[in-house]
């Protein structure tokens, strides 16, 4: 379909009509500034071709020009097939639709109203919306080929709608999938949708299969429960049998035990009687034994007392005999002890006197020794003091005249040598003059070293040398100054000067004028040092190791003080001390030692005697005490004896008789008891234990085990009865039958569903394959166009088989990525949309020339791409009518095409 003319009025900004006539079959560019109504023209086209004339609602109302009650009216002439048509469509207050066909002379009315709407819609392969404006996806061919403004700008065209897909197939010459096939697939899909969920492919919850499955599950559940209950009943029945058996067994056992108990009862009674009698006898025996023991004790006591008294008396006699010699010894020892103590006293006195003499002699000797040592010490101190003074004087002298070290002396010598050498060298290189006089004259010669006066005679020429300069001062005549210009000489003179300064410094340090003086000073210094060291050594020797003069002086003072004190104690003066004879201290000491020894020996003897005396004294005392105790004890025993015999009239014979009587009584009872013990069976205890055990066992069985079993049995019985009353088997049978029915129904439903699933899967797969092969050329063409536009051969469009856009594929060296379109710039996205439309137009144009509408498609395109796009548009215009709406007419200077200024087109 191609457009011939378009007239729009009463639509948004077009209050007055706008007419665009004679559209080119190729490129048409409608341009104007913003808000001039370019997009409104596209809206007008869409309203005319793709919407019902009689629609109402806010959507169409919004198209009235603002502030007016005007209604949209669109008139368009177009070619479809080989025929020329005119469509007049009004909306709202102007609602009408008239389609006319050109008969060569004039337009003849063809259809009107809904028929006209439908006819035009079919031409566009479009669908009307149920209510309101039709959506972009319903626009049929316009959806594929128009690129409007707004939200649909970047929505990719797709073959989702059946109508356009059919047209497309026709356009592609496809015969392999028809409308009927669509219908077939649609029916299959419908049945599929009834059974399966679209996303997961699972059975829908309300599908026949699911419902049948639920019923099967419920029936299975019920059957399982019934079977479990049946199984439980079978187990209960087994348990019941076991319980019955066990119960019978226990009852038999109980009866047997009771019989056994009965048998034992007689024996037990006899044993009890015997035991009772035995116990009585035992009690009597105990009483008789106690009585006998009491008398026996009494008799025993009397015997003991008698014996005790006799023994005590014997003991007293023995001890009295033993104490006599002890007393005698004690007297003897006491006397001896007194004697020895008297001797000791005399000895002490003698020792005291001897000690006093000895002490005196010792003091005298010590004092004499001290006197000698003090004198020696004083001499030592004097000597040290002299040496100290000498050393001090020598040091003073040394300090007055500093002495150089060997290092300084060597340095000075070296400097002098260097000075001499350099001077010689300088002189060799320096100035030399020869003066020959014609007459005698005096001349003062000054050099850097010195100034001399020479008398020069004709017979005595003078030769002078100087290192650097020379000044000749001839009295009366003048002065001649001669300098050397040699740099070497200068250098030498500098070196000489430096050395001379160094030498002078050393000499000045020690206050000498010349090197010889320095050496002399050095030698003097050495000699003084030697002497000083000798004096120091002597002083050290005089003082001794670790001592100082002060220490010695202090020591001397102390000795002198001590000596004075000693002399004072002795009562003599030092002179008298010196003259006194030295006493024989040893003799006195020996005497003293002898006396001490005697005293010690005597002391030991006294000590031993003292010990002996004490021991004897203790022994005697002890014996006497024992004798006294024995006497007391004998008296007590006698008293006790008397008392005990009182109850027997103080007659010991009576006591003996009583004892004999009691003993006989006890023996008799013992015999009787023995007889009873013999009669009681040896295993009586065992019999009694058995009887107790029997009783316990019987009790346990009768009161616990059997009732417990009966209770359990009752419970099991109850279960069985309940199962019987419930008709558990019948229940299970009914469940099984219901399950069979449910399973059968499920199998039937499942078979049908599986059949539909297979058909749906295969149908869809086949259709996709067909569509894929159909749209492959479109995809290739769109990619080709896109690559030309972008200049990027590695990029290609990813389009599904229904042409919906998946993304842009970028081939890299070893990988490929697919990026969604929104990752790319707006410009690239616009170019992408255009590529798809041009590709579609190319193929759809093979049916007939198609109308492509592009509303400002290149707003975001750079100049390089723009150029390529313009070329493509020109090429496409060979088979397509292209209408471009733009604000930027200048961008389209590069292509041919009819231009329409929208502002000029307004009537």
């Amino acid at each position: 379909m191609i457009l011939r003319s378009l007239t729009v009025s009463g639509l948004r900004c077009f209050r007055n009509p706008i007419e665009l006539k004679d559209f080119s079959e190729g490129i048409n560019i409608i341009y104007g500034p913003n808000e001039s109504g370019k997009s409104t023209l596209v809206t007008g086209l869409a309203l005319a071709f793709l919407n019902r004339h009689d629609m109402t609602g806010d959507a169409i109302e919004a198209f009235r020009p603002w502030g007016t009650s005007l209604s949209p009216l669109i008139r368009t002439e177009f070619m479809f097939g080989d025929k020329r048509y005119c469509l007049e469509k009004g909306f709202l207050d102007n609602a009408r639709s008239v389609l006319s066909e050109w008969d060569g002379i004039r337009y003849q009315r063809l259809d009107e109203g809904k028929a006209a709407d439908d006819k035009v819609r079919r031409m566009m392969q479009a669908e009307f919306s149920g209510r309101g404006l039709s959506k972009n996806t319903q626009w049929g061919l316009a959806h594929l080929l128009w690129m409007p403004q707004g939200t649909d700008r970047f929505s990719s065209p797709s073959l989702a709608e059946p109508g356009v897909e059919d047209y497309f197939r026709q356009a592609m010459g496809a015969t392999i999938f028809s409308k009927k096939d669509d219908k077939l697939l649609g029916l299959i899909s419908k049945r599929y949708a009834d059974i399966f969920t679209p996303k997961t492919g699972d059975f829908k919850a309300n599908s026949e299969v699911s419902l049948a499955k639920q019923k099967v599950a419920a029936a299975k559940d019920q059957l399982d429960r019934a079977l479990r209950d049946l199984e439980a009943i079978r187990e209960a029945e087994s348990d019941l049998l076991l319980h019955d058996s066990r119960l019978a067994e226990l009852e038999t056992r109980s009866a047997n035990l009771k019989q056994e108990r009965q048998n034992l009862t007689g024996q037990l009674e006899r044993i009890r009687d015997l035991k009772s009698e035995r116990d009585t006898m035992k009690a009597r025996l105990q009483t008789a034994t106690q009585a006998w023991e009491t008398v026996k004790k009494e008799w025993q006591q009397v015997s003991n007392l008698k014996k005790t008294i006799a023994d005590t008396r014997l003991e007293i006699a023995r001890k009295e005999k033993a104490v006599i010699p002890l007393k005698a010894d004690l007297d003897k020892v006491s006397k001896e002890l007194d004697s020895k103590r008297a001797i000791e006293k005399d000895l002490e006195k003698g020792i005291k006197e001897t000690n006093k003499d000895f002490q005196k002699a010792n003091d005298l000797e010590q004092a004499k020794n001290r006197l000698e040592s003090t004198r020696n010490l004083a001499a030592q101190v004097k000597s040290a003091q002299d040496l100290t003074k000498k050393i001090s004087d020598l040091e003073k002298e040394l300090s007055k005249q500093p002495c150089p070290g060997i290092t300084d002396v060597k340095s000075a010598e070296d400097s002098k040598s260097r000075i001499d050498a350099r001077e010689a060298e300088a002189r060799a290189q320096g100035l030399a003059i020869d003066v020959t006089a014609y007459t005698d004259f005096d001349m003062i010669v000054s050099t850097s070293e010195d100034e001399k006066t020479y008398t020069i005679r004709p017979s005595e020429p003078l030769s002078l040398v100087s290192a650097d300069r020379m000044t000749l001062d001839i009295r009366g005549l003048g002065r001649i100054e001669i300098k050397s210009g040699s740099t070497d000489v200068k250098r030498l003179l500098e070196q000489i000067s430096t050395e001379k300064r160094a030498l002078k410094e050393i000499l000045d340090r020690y206050g000498v004028e010349t090197l010889s003086d320095l050496k002399e000073r050095y030698n003097w210094g050495v000699r003084q040092d030697l002497q000083l060291n000798t004096l120091r050594d002597n002083l050290k020797t005089t003082l001794g190791s670790g001592n100082t003069l002060r220490l010695l002086e202090s020591q001397l003072q102390k000795e002198e003080t001590t000596l004075r004190e000693q002399c004072l104690r002795l009562g003599i003066s030092q002179e008298e001390l010196a003259e006194a004879e030295t006493p024989d201290v040893d003799l006195l000491k020996n005497r003293l030692d002898g006396l001490n020894k005697q005293r010690d020996d005597l002391g030991r003897e006294i000590l031993e005697l003292d010990k002996l005396e004490q021991s004897l004294s203790k022994q005697v005392a002890k014996l006497e005490q024992e004798i006294s105790n024995l006497r007391t004890s004998a008296e007590i025993s006698s008293g006790e004896l008397k008392r005990r015999l009182e109850s027997y009239d103080n007659n010991e014979e009576k006591l003996n008789s009583a004892l004999t009587e009691k003993e006989e009584g006890k023996n008799c009872i013992e015999k009787h008891l023995a007889e009873l013990e013999r009669q009681i069976p040896k295993n009586a205890a065992e019999i009694e234990r058995n009887a107790i055990r029997l009783e316990q066992k019987i009790k346990e069985i009768d009161e616990e085990t059997i009732p417990g079993l009966r209770d359990k049995r009752a419970v099991l019985r109850g279960k069985l009865d309940e199962a019987g009353n419930r008709g558990l088997y019948s229940e299970a049978v009914q469940c099984e039958e219901a399950l069979k029915i449910a399973e059968s129904n499920q199998a039937i439903a499942l078979r049908k569903a599986q059949g539909i699933r297979l058909l749906q899967y295969l149908g869809r797969t086949r259709k996709d394959q067909l569509l894929d092969s159909l749209t492959e050329p479109i995809r290739d063409e769109a990619t080709r166009i896109f690559r030309i536009i972008t200049g990027s051969p590695e990029r290609s469009l990813e389009l599904s088989s229904d042409l919906s856009l998946s993304g842009i594929k970028i081939d890299q060296e070893d990988s490929e990525t697919i990026g969604p379109i929104w990752d790319f710039s707006i410009g690239t996205q616009e170019q992408l949309m255009m590529s798809v439309r041009l590709a579609l137009g190319h193929f759809l144009g093979q049916v007939e020339r198609q109308l492509v509408v592009l509303d400002d498609p290149l707003v975001n395109t750079d100049p390089h791409r723009l150029e390529r796009i313009l070329d493509l548009l020109e090429a496409a215009s060979k088979t397509l009518q292209i209408i471009i709406l733009t604000c930027h007419i200048d961008r389209y200077e590069g292509i041919l095409g009819k231009r329409f200024n929208i502002t000029e087109a307004t009537l």
């Binding site: 015969t175 392999i176 999938f177 028809s178 009927k180 096939d181 219908k183 077939l184 029916l187 299959i188 049945r191 049946l230 009943i233 029945e237 019941l240 049998l241 019955d244 099991l716 019985r717 069985l720 009865d721 199962a723 019987g724 009353n725 419930r726 008709g727 558990l728 088997y729 019948s730 229940e731 049978v733 009914q734 099984e736 039958e737 219901a738 069979k740 029915i741 059968s744 078979r751 049908k752 599986q754 059949g755 539909i756 699933r757 297979l758 058909l759 899967y761 295969l762 149908g763 797969t765 086949r766 259709k767 067909l770």
Partner: protein, 413 residues
């Protein structure tokens, strides 16, 4: 007074409450029919004025059937009152702890003419007759129940001795050791005039002409060849051979009809309808229709219609198609597929899938086979995985073809 001629009904294996899961939709009807047959039997007893009725075991299918069944049975048994009915517990309703005979229906509400043989104590149903019972006390046993008969010493020489037991005669190949095996010469060895047995469901008279299975009173499945039976026995005197009359009972008819459906479906339908019309009581008839042969066409509507017709007329219809080879792809589908590549491609895919599932579609119409060509029948792994995941079987492929044919017919013709 000593009766010289004794007449009684011998029946067994009523198995009231039995399951009928092979015919689940009419199971309850089948169960009710057994009670109806029992009532009928009781009427026969009354009509023939027998001296007593013997039920030789398995009166009930299980001890745990519903109470209602117990009461219905006792009511049925009371119908022939005052004729006494002696009931022997069998292996299905043994005298175990859960015995149905301990329920109130058989204790508190037991009709006076009904006697449950709970012990091995001989019973004299009428003067001159001694009944020796061997009630079953367990669900299985290796013991011969007839060895437990107790012949009382005080029994008269002229007394007719009838044993009643439940088990399997030791006929080689027809019994198992733990199934209450009964010696073949039990009657002779014990000097019985008649040995009334239960356990086998078919009427049987042993060589000694005294040992008899009365058979079940109502058939229980398609495999049972005969109708329900009961034995009317007459014994004239001690030692004489019993006169045994087999009576047919039963209210339902279980029939099997085999049919070759290879020919024209119309003829097949006509033939089947004719055969069914010969059935005496179709509303009491359960029919198994065994089809065999190859279907001529993929259109099986005739079979569906026939099944509907049979369902209305008969109590129950079961169509066994295990030997019936259908043609999922026939002329109808090949005609629809002609000139339709899309349809052809789907059919081709289904043929490949059938092949992959191990049941290739046979007898493809020639024109369709030419169109489909001899392309590879191997399906790709992804499709195989999908088929496995969905659990598709070869029958599903056939169903898909049938569905495809019907949808295609709706759309394309």
């Amino acid at each position: 007074m000593v009766i010289t001629v004794v007449s009684f009904l011998h029946t067994a294996d009523w198995q009231i409450g039995m399951k009928a899961s092979q015919v689940p939709t009419v199971a309850e009807t089948v169960r009710k029919a057994r009670l109806t047959a029992a009532e009928q039997l009781m009427r026969i007893a009354s009509q023939r004025e027998v001296d007593f009725v013997l039920i030789a075991g398995d009166l009930f299918e299980n001890n745990l059937v519903h109470n209602e069944a117990a009461h219905r049975v006792t009511e049925a048994l009371s119908a022939c009152s005052p004729i006494p009915v002696y009931v022997l517990p069998g292996n299905h309703d043994p005298l175990t702890e859960d015995s149905i005979y301990n329920r109130s229906a058989f204790k508190d509400y037991l009709p006076p003419n009904v006697h449950i043989l709970r012990t091995f104590e001989p019973v004299a149903p009428v003067p001159g007759v001694m009944l020796l019972p061997a009630p079953v006390m367990s669900k299985e046993s290796f013991d011969d129940p007839t060895t437990q008969f107790r012949i009382p010493p005080e029994m008269g020489e002229d007394s007719i001795i009838i044993g009643i037991a439940h088990g399997s005669l030791r006929i080689p190949g027809k019994f198992q050791e733990n199934d209450f095996p009964i010696a073949l010469d039990a009657a002779k060895r014990l000097g019985l005039d008649y040995l009334a047995l239960g356990h086998w469901h078919s009427f049987y008279v042993h060589d000694d002409e005294r040992t008899v299975y009365a058979g079940t009173h109502e058939p229980t499945g398609f495999d049972e060849q005969r109708k329900g039976t009961v034995a009317h026995v007459t014994i004239e005197a001690r030692g004489s051979l019993p006169k045994i009359e087999r009576l047919d009972t039963g209210t339902l008819s279980w029939q099997t009809l085999k049919c070759d459906v290879s020919g024209d479906p119309a003829h097949v339908v006509s033939h089947i309808k004719h055969e069914v019309s010969k059935v005496e009581n179709p509303s009491s008839t359960l029919l198994r229709l065994e089809l065999k042969g190859h279907a001529q066409s993929d259109d099986l509507q005739w079979l569906e219609d026939l099944e509907d017709w049979l369902k209305i007329r008969l109590l129950y219809i079961e169509i066994d198609k295990t030997q019936f080879v259908t043609r999922p792809i026939g002329k109808r589908l090949s005609k629809l597929a002609a000139g339709n590549p899309f349809l052809q491609s789907i059919i081709s895919d289904l043929v490949d899938i059938a092949y992959a599932l191990g049941r290739p579609i046979e007898d493809l119409p020639e024109d369709l086979a030419n169109i489909l060509g001899s392309d590879s029948q191997i399906i790709d792994d992804r499709l195989q995985d999908d088929l496995d995941r969905w659990g598709i079987q070869s029958e599903d492929v056939e169903e898909a073809l049938r569905t495809l044919a019907s949808i295609a017919e709706e759309v394309l013709s």
